[in-house]
Every structure is written in C-alpha cells, then in structure tokens.
Symmetry: C2
Subunit: 337 residues, 2 copies
DNA sequence: ACGTCTTTGATAGTCGCAGACAAACTTATA
DNA sequence: TATAAGTTTGTCTGCGACTATCAAAGACGT
C-alpha cells in the first residue's frame, strides 16, 4: 500500500532511526543526510502512519466531542469554535452527536476510548444519572464537561452562569418598563434550562413582579418548540407585554408564530432570547438576546483539556463564564400611562 | 495505563489468542472459557486498543469530512446527516472545517492521510485548481466529492443539480405572475452558485423575460451577504417584484434587511430561497424555497464511500440528486391588472 | 493400544514507528 | 601514537493487537 519508513530509509540509504529523527526533528542529523531523507520521502509520497506512531507514543492527537445535536445552531457554532481551537493545537476532532440517546452516547463513549482519543469534551446538558455513570467508567480519560457538572473531582467543568443571564434579560425588560413578563424555556432536565428558569423567577421576585403560572412554559429548545410554546402562550386569557425565551432557536419559532397571528414585534410583544447565535442579528426584527461567549467557551474548554492531558493528576476545576446582554430591536419600551 | 489483552488473558487464565478469538468471535471457544474471558475483560474495564488493531488490520473505521464551514446551516444539517450514517455504519467522523483556506485544507488533508482514515468526504464547493491538485495527491485514498467535480475518474461525485433547482424556483415565481425577477447569489467560484445563476438566466430566457443587469447580484452565501445584497438591490432605481436568493442563509439576511426598510414580504416583494434548511420554516413569513435532499445526499455519500472502500478498483461514478420546490408563504401571486 | 478426528489452546511473527543504547568515525589532546 | 572527547548514525526491542501455524487433549473406532 503506502510507503513505510523502511522504504524511505532504504531509498535514502540510511537507517529507519535516522529517517524518524529527521522527520520529527528529534535529534541532530547532518545536513546532507537530512536532505537525502527528505527527498526520498518526497519521492515516495511518504506519509508517516499516525496509527503506528500513536501505538508507540501513546497519544493520538485527537479529541472526541459529545454533543446532543449540532442541528441546534448554538451547538453548531460552539463546535465550530472548538474545531478551530483543535486545529490550532494540532488536534483532530471526532464529532459525536448523541441525539440525547443513551445508547448512542454509550456506544460513542466506547468507540472513543477504543480509539484512544486523548480526551473527551462533553456538551450534553442533561444531568442524567445514567450518562453520569457511563462517564465515570471512563474516569481515567481526560474530560471536560461544558454545560453541566457531574459533581466529581475528576473532570473539569465549564459553566455558563445561566442564572445571571436570565437576570440580565429580565432586568433589561424591566428597565424598558415591562411588568407582565412570560417565559418559554427548555426542558428542565437540562441544567441551563433549569438555571434560566430559576434566574427568571428570582429576578421577577426581586422586582416584586408576579409570575403568572400559565406564562411559564416548558418546551424543548428547538424551533418547533418555540412555535408551540408561543401558540400556547397566545391562548392565554391575557397576554404579557414581553417574553423571555430560553434560546434563540425557540425565539425564532416563537416570533414566527406570533407574527403569523398578526402580532407586531416589538410593538405589541417584546421578545428577548438567549445564546446570541449568528443568525439572531437577522431576525425580523433583529433579536435582543443574551450573549454566550462561545469563542471563549471553546477556548477555555480546549486549553483546560490540554492542560489536563499534560497533567492528568490534578483535581477537577470549575470555570464560570459570564453572559452579557446584546440589545437589538426586539424589545420595545413600554409607555408609562 | 489501561488494561491490555495480556492482562485479560492472565486474569482469565488463557492465552491472548483465546481472548482475541472470543472478543472478535473469530473462532469457536468453549462456553465456559468464553465466560471467563468476558468476565475478566469486564473486571479490568478492558477496551481493546483500536490503534493497535488498526495497525494490524489496516483500516481505522473513521472517515474525514472536509467542509468549508459548519457555520452555514446547510452544511451543519448535512454534516449532521452524514454523522448519522457514519454512526450507523460503525464509522467515526473527523470534522475538518477548511474555512475556505487552502493552507488549512492541505494541513487537514495531510493529517487525515497520516491518521489513515478510510476515506474522505469533500464538500468545499470551490472548483479550485490548487485544492484539486492537493486532492489528486491523495489519489490512493477513497474520496467522494459532494458538490463539485474534479473531472477525474478516481473519485466519486455527487451533484445536486442546481441548474434544475433554479429552474424550479423561477418557474414557481412565473406561475405566480412574476415577471420582474432579481437574483442574489453566491460567489461564482463555487459551482452551485454558478449553476444557480445559469439556471436563473436560462429559465428567464426560456420565459422571454429580460434579466436586468443590476438585478443580478453576486454575494457570499452568508447571512450578512444576503443583507448587503438586498441593500444593493433596494438601491436600484426600479425594484423587482420577486427575488430568487441563492441560499436560505442569504434569504434570511435579505428578508431582514428588506423588512427593516419597511418592505412587506411577500406583498411588496416575493422571496424564494434555496436549500430548505430546518429554520426556513420559521422565517417571518415562512420561506418558500428549493429543497435539497440532504438526508439522501448524506446517505448516498456514505454508501458510495463504503462501496469504494470495499472495492477501491472501480472507476469514479457521478450521481445526480434532484431538488424540489417547497411552497410556504414568502411568495405572493401578482395580481394581473 | 494405536491411529485418526475433532475440539481447544499456545507460540511466535507481524503491522510501522520511536527511542534507549551503542557503534563507528573524526578530531583534539597528551 | 594512544587516548579522550565529540559527532554522526545504526541496532534492536517493544508498543498492543491479530492470526497462521502448531500442539495438546479428548473422543472414537478398530
């Protein structure tokens, strides 16, 4: 099949050791020899086998990433950032969509350990006991969890501080004069969804505003879920003046539904989202939302990962990321009358 | 570090051969022995090293996917489908975003060959000579190209028939009574962009409709590009009654911009997109667009890939996919007066 | 008791590369 | 001239799994 180091050595008239050394620059080799080797390699179109190399050096320079689904733009953007960091650091990224299925997750976990990836990034956002137990089975494998935490000292965690994000959103609405605020959120078994709800309630209470029961709606973080959530909200006897929606995808679905019902945004209904995905600047009207620092998140995840790969014997760390408000045009000021 | 086959053999009191055989079911082994082995493996949390295995069996059960950027929802959806197929077939997917940079592309190509992936899926859509020459350097590696074709008999190609898609779009507009039709497309060095433009012009000519020069705009397939394209279109002296936009991302940007300028869609301006991304059903109004059969595309790519892996010595094939029209609400009928 | 089958297990070589150890050769120094 | 020191390159083993080839043990017939 493809040429091996032996072929190169033969052609260059040196030992395989020498070839290995010039290719990896791992010891001095006379200029002339070096050139002979390089030329032989070139001539044979030689590509060193990373699999043989990995067997020897015990690392693969690849990372696995477990993510619910990249169909969600937020995850897609995050994966994109992660991939960028990986590339920069010389790693490959093995993409694993779990689709929220335990079986797929376990299967991938098995594949990844067999493939001897150097580490696993987890972004599944469900704090699910069964997943947790699958994970701890791999405890020897460096792992950083990006949105929920098995409370365990062996993995690093990065949290997005969704409670704060929700506060920011509600504060903004309140500052714009809103008092009647609804919430459409994600499934509560996902930590960010839960935190955003908690933050919403907390913020409302702090402002002495009531939260009406049928104004808090649990949905699924998807486009369609937003649409359905809005439909449900619109069926309420009285309507809020603003909605805080748990992520931008749902915000899109919700706005579409509301506008289809003839509701003007933001004049009749203000909307604020969460995530600040790329496309939220192109909604009609452009979406005011809470920004998650995705680049920073990816950056941190990878640097933490690499640090842990190089030094596995440290205790799990927990890093908190700060969200911030991005004002666009989907929130209107309420006229005080 | 982690347990090896030897450890398992030792614990089970058998030879490594036996362990290998029971794990791979490659020869009959007494039930009792089998169970001892399995139990030992379990006890040691044994995960066979795929890297050692790969070295011997000469395949890695992983595929590389070269894609411009998964930031574009169309690619994201496609990657998602591809990943699904890979999983089903027992392959891992190594995600490689090229960002359209030749250097990154080459670097990834090198990494992938070194990692000895079993094949490479290419979805870069630029028919760029330099990429082409990088690719043919890897001619021994199974490859399927999903949206443009190095005219070469060594790779398989899947084409989306964008010319036809453009025809479908324009036909639909014409049927709805439109005669004054503009076009905002992608960069012409990308084959689909070129084909969609060609199809647009062809369809217009067949209908004896003129295409006004400043109504065909070349942009970049991104959200912002759509916005800019629309801005440019709106600055024309006279406006069309409909726009065909080269992909859904640009359609989103364009619609946002138009609506910000107070133009009612579809009443004052009809819009038709291309790709039928998940989110296009949630535009305001929901986008009429040309559907690309993404699942089928992924399916075909993977099955073609696997076939070629199993039988590398066949000549390159070319498969054509058929787009279809999805009618939603962004195109209005023109009243004949 | 011996040979022949059948069933099951062991030995050793292989994949391609890295690196510890050491050899060969050159030059400087006593 | 012998020896030390330095420079450059080579030999050989092992990473962890697979697998071809052998070998042992038991069943069976004669």
């Amino acid at each position: 099949m493809s040429a091996t180091i032996k072929d190169v050595a033969l052609l260059a008239g040196v030992s395989t050791t020498t070839v290995s050394h010039v290719l990896n620059k791992t010891r001095f080799v006379a200029k002339a020899t070096q050139e002979r080797v390089l030329q032989a390699a070139e001539e044979l179109n030689y590509a060193p086998s990373a699999v043989a190399r990995s067997l020897k050096v015990k690392n693969t320079k690849s990372l696995g990433m477990l993510v619910t689904t990249t169909l969600n733009p937020f995850f897609a953007e995050l994966v994109n950032e992660v991939e960028k960091c990986c590339y920069r650091e010389g790693y490959n990224l093995v993409l694993c969509n779990t689709d929220g299925e335990l079986e797929k997750t376990n299967s991938y976990l098995r594949m990844l350990t067999q493939k001897r990836v150097d580490g696993i990034l987890v972004m599944c956002s469900a704090y699910d006991d069964s997943l947790f137990s699958s994970l701890i089975g791999q405890r020897n494998l460096p792992m950083v969890v990006m949105d929920w935490g098995p409370s365990d000292d062996y993995v690093d965690r990065i949290q997005d501080n969704s409670v704060k994000g929700a506060h920011l959103a509600i504060q903004h609405l309140i500052e714009q004069g809103h008092k009647r605020i609804a919430y459409i959120g994600g499934p509560l078994e996902k930590l960010p969804a839960k935190q955003r709800l908690d933050g919403f309630i907390e913020a409302m209470e702090q402002a002495n505003l009531g939260v009406q029961d049928d104004w808090v709606i649990e949905s699924d973080f998807e486009f369609e879920g937003g649409k359905l959530g809005m439909r449900q909200l619109l069926s309420c006897a009285n309507l809020p003046s603003a909605v805080f929606i748990g992520n931008d995808a749902m915000a899109m679905g919700a706005m579409s539904e509301a506008q289809l019902s003839g509701i003007k945004i933001p004049q009749q209904l203000s909307v604020i989202g969460y995530d600040n995905c790329l496309y939220s600047a192109y909604f009609s009207p452009p979406l005011t939302t809470i920004n998650q620092p995705k680049e920073q998140l990816a950056e941190l995840a990878i640097s933490t990962m690499i640090e842990r790969i190089e030094n596995p014997r440290q205790e799990g760390r927990m890093i908190m990321l700060e969200p911030n408000l991005v004002v666009r045009s989907s929130v209107a000021a309420v006229l005080t009358r």
